[in-house]
């Protein structure tokens, strides 16, 4: 039992850690919150922008996790689902590493549509997909813990789990991104943008692959 608890704790930690990671990545939008506050010349705009970014990110994570939550009723196929999710994450990571291309449709989103922008970015860059193996791992420990249950009960607990993962992840994401945005807006200044913005594209692709490989190894 101790093993399961430590695995569970580790997985929740991964949910939080991935949230912090996504939040710190400028590509997930914190510079937009700085820009909003500077353009409107008031700090309130920063919080409003962060709220919009969080809403979009949360929606993306839920949209990706939901189908997997539903699939947890297919008890006999759990291993295959975990393998498929791991492979999907690896493929996206490899694609990002190899192509280095930016999805051009993102450039068509208007600067005022922050929720939509955040939603699309989280989908396009695989931020939401990165959570799937972690989520499936959590469902698995849950399942071991309670042995076999009625499909209905299983599904509702999976849905709650998906919602919980999405909320905890997004809270960590916006906490980290918000802290940087506030720091740049209040103390560090715009110069930080050119000093502190690193190209995370390869690291990002590698992160996806890492998550996928761990998922496969533990499936």
């Amino acid at each position: 039992m101790a093993d399961i608890y430590s695995t569970t704790a580790g997985l929740w930690l991964a949910v939080v850690a991935s949230g912090l990671y996504h939040g710190l990545n400028p590509g997930m939008g914190w510079p937009l919150a700085v820009s909003a506050a500077l353009m409107e010349r008031r700090a309130g705009a920063l919080w409003r922008a962060l709220g919009a970014l969080a809403a979009g990110h949360l929606a993306a994570v839920i949209v990706i996790l939901l189908p997997f939550a539903v699939m947890t009723v297919l008890i006999d196929w759990q291993r295959e689902i975990r393998l498929a999710a791991g492979i999907a994450v690896i493929v996206l990571g490899a694609w990002i590493l190899v192509t280095k291309r930016h999805p051009r449709f993102l450039a068509r989103v208007k600067p005022t549509r922050l929720v939509l922008w955040s939603f699309l970015v989280a989908l396009a860059h695989g931020a939401a997909l990165m959570l799937v193996p972690i989520y499936l791992g959590l469902c698995r420990t849950e399942e071991l813990d309670t042995a076999h249950r009625a499909a209905e009960a299983l599904m509702s607990s999976s849905l709650f789990m998906a919602l919980g993962v999405a909320l905890v992840h997004t809270a960590a994401m916006i906490g980290a991104g918000g802290a940087v945005a506030w720091g740049v807006y209040r103390w560090l200044g715009l110069k930080f943008l050119t000093r502190g913005w690193f190209d995370l594209e390869r690291v990002w692709g590698a992160s996806l692959i890492l998550v996928g490989v761990v998922a496969l190894a533990t499936a």
Partner: protein, 465 residues
């Protein structure tokens, strides 16, 4: 590849002004009679260098008859836009269109003194993928590199309206037309935008038959050149408002929005008013969602003896100022205005954009005055393409307008030149006696780009605070 943003990308105009000064300038050279291929000159503008004011390197193109005019970078400070995440592009390539040939050269200037051609986009590709011809202004923006064109399809470029097309900012492939709804726009010249506010402004010169073989006096006197400016929803690619400056305000050319994206105004220069030969500057602005434009500067013509005037102007007994280029300093304080006809460079304090005040003036060249440079040399033609250093302390300009138009206003070969003026601490403009670039025989000079960006290239996504 860069792991951090290119050091020449700046979040705000203010930070760009604090960056190190330029040491090199890139200036286009054109052969007006197409007897030689056009080229790009790399000019030393570092006052501490022993070769200050000299051409250090030339990239000569493999074709003749391109007619170089304007050009731009593959990437600028707009790459720092948080929306598009292109922060790791390099400012490395100059995109140089030939407005006569419709051919586009991509020149790699990573090592400026070894600058070389990276890619050539043949005219057929531009025609086939866009239906436009005669590419002109280059700006890098949200969806890639935007290129305005002066002509539509067909041999004389009048089959359909001219417009803007987009190129991929990494592969330089022509992607296609920009406009989804162009409204009544049927002519094109310059364009620029405010990225966070998501609008674009474009202007009108004339259609190819109105300029390629020279200015058409009948068209000018019947007000058939462009006189409107268009406002676009940038990302919806839609013309949202058109303002007619009045048909007598012929040739609305350069569009210069305030650099600080918080500000929702800008300027446009009009070459000539056909009722009185004045040149004018217009201020445009947005108020409660609607665009407005107002004439805020007029520059009168100067009386002249018909004997001193070219055929085209003899009947008027006056020389028009001909406002052919304007440029705004990065702090949005000074607007520089080229008066190509009278041979003057004006500096206006536009701190109050609705009420510009003349702050400085330099006389050099000119149809009648032919003012010499302080070093005693003749300066052919008049002040034309003007570029301002990022810190606003130095202003550079060249002297050719457009091959066939040069001949009409300044008959005969008068030599390509590039000069520099220094800006006083409280305004004012003084020509630098020690800087006078002469171009190789037979070449004229056109637009200037400064190393690391200048006042007519970079678009900023964050305000100056």
């Amino acid at each position: 590849m860069n792991l951090r943003p290119d050091p020449t990308f700046h979040p705000s105009p203010k930070l760009a002004m604090q960056a190190p000064a330029e040491t090199l300038a890139f200036t286009l050279m054109l052969s007006p009679d197409a007897s030689q291929p056009d080229g790009l000159a790399v000019v030393d503008v570092d006052p501490g260098s022993g070769t200050f004011g000299q051409i250090l390197h030339q990239v000569i193109m493999p074709n003749k008859g391109d007619e170089f005019h304007h050009f731009g970078w593959n990437a600028c400070s707009s790459a720092l836009s948080p929306l598009t995440g292109h922060a790791f592009l390099e400012r490395r390539y100059l995109i140089i269109p030939g407005i006569r040939s419709s051919r586009i050269y991509v020149v790699d200037v990573k090592e400026p003194l070894k600058a070389k051609i990276h890619k050539i986009i043949e005219p057929e590709e531009v025609f086939a993928k866009t239906g436009y011809s005669r590419p002109h202004t280059i700006h890098c923006g949200p969806e890639g590199i935007y290129v305005s064109t002066l002509g539509g399809g067909g041999k004389d470029g009048t089959d359909g309206p001219p417009g803007i097309f987009i190129m991929d900012c990494e592969t330089f492939d022509v992607i296609g037309r920009y406009e989804i709804d162009r409204g009544s726009q049927d002519k094109q010249y310059d364009f620029w935008w405010n990225l966070p506010r998501d609008y674009m402004v474009s202007s009108e010169w004339g259609l190819p038959p109105q300029f390629e073989n020279g200015l058409v006096p009948e068209d000018l006197l019947s007000n058939k050149y462009g006189h409107r400016i268009h406002f676009w929803n940038l990302r919806e690619r839609k013309n949202i408002q058109t303002i007619d400056l009045g048909e007598n305000h012929q040739m609305a050319l350069e569009i210069r929005p305030a650099h600080d994206p918080v500000k929702e105004y800008g300027f446009c220069g009009v070459v000539v008013d056909t009722t009185n030969l004045e040149g004018s500057i217009w201020t445009w602005w947005r108020e409660n969602g609607t665009w407005h434009a107002k004439k805020t500067v007029t520059i009168p013509p100067q009386p002249a003896n018909p004997d001193d005037l070219p055929e085209l102007l003899k009947g008027f007994s006056a020389v028009p100022p001909l406002v052919t280029d304007i440029d705004l300093s990065l702090d949005d304080k000074y607007l520089y205005v080229s008066c190509w006809g009278t041979g003057e460079m004006h500096q206006y304090d536009v701190s109050d954009p609705m009420n510009p005040k003349l702050a400085g003036k330099v006389e050099i060249g000119g149809i009648v005055k032919k003012t010499q440079h302080p070093n005693g040399k003749d300066f052919g033609y008049g002040p034309q393409m003007v570029e301002v250093s990022r810190d606003g302390k130095r202003v550079y300009w060249t002297n050719s307008l457009y091959s066939t138009w040069d001949e009409q206003f300044y008959p005969g070969e008068r030599g390509g030149a590039m000069v520099k003026a220094d800006v006083g601490a409280n305004g004012g403009l003084t020509l630098d006696k020690t800087f006078f670039v002469e171009f190789p025989k037979g070449y004229r000079s056109h637009q200037i780009r400064l190393e690391g960006g200048d006042c007519s290239t970079d678009s900023f996504c964050y305000p100056s605070v």
